[in-house]
């Protein structure tokens, strides 16, 4: 049984903000520059950049600066590893975490309505 997982803390924390979830949503359609990403939000750019930092610090996105432009994308590796995991896991931990998962899915359902 894990005592404490800073990674999990940070990921869930990152997902708890609607701006950050919207950024992830937009990035699922492909990479984008910071200013481009920020455009839909009624927020000063420095504030928006803080959100990107949160997402990057927990590994959900990554970015690369080319010239003046920082291009942001979803981090790819965790996604692939996760797919494998879903097939492999068994046992009590799995069942238990699936419950958490189910709750998350339920909440997403409500968001969709």
């Amino acid at each position: 049984m894990p005592k404490h997982s800073p990674n999990l803390d940070r990921v869930f924390y990152a997902l708890a903000d609607p701006t950050r979830r919207a950024v992830l949503a937009r990035l699922s359609a492909g990479p984008a520059a910071v200013t481009q990403l920020a455009e839909p939000f009624d927020m000063a750019l420095p504030s928006f950049s803080q959100h990107l930092k949160v997402l990057e610090n927990c590994g959900l996105i990554r970015s690369k600066k080319e010239g003046r432009v920082r291009t942001v994308e979803l981090a790819p590796k965790p996604l692939q590893a996760a797919e494998n995991w879903m097939v492999e896991q068994r046992g009590m931990w799995e069942r238990r975490l699936d419950q958490l998962d189910a709750f998350v899915l339920q909440m997403k359902k409500e968001q969709k309505r």
Copy 2:
């Protein structure tokens, strides 16, 4: 596209704390009283109760007071509805939210190690 989902905010926020995740874990083994749940944690009872409030406010747990004892359990209905949802959903929203989901699963994998 959803603008803002307080529910999702609250659920993810609740899951961002290791104490609260541990409580959910313990509750997956069955209901328990507040003091019983609090016992493993090096924390004053009022502080612990705050965590329970967070979990209850976002619907992850529910509780009933019988006599002096408040018994806490995982909330059952969201779980069932979520199972149905996983089979039904299609489209871009689904793919996009699956990505979020996959990230969560990856993080859980890391927690398990």
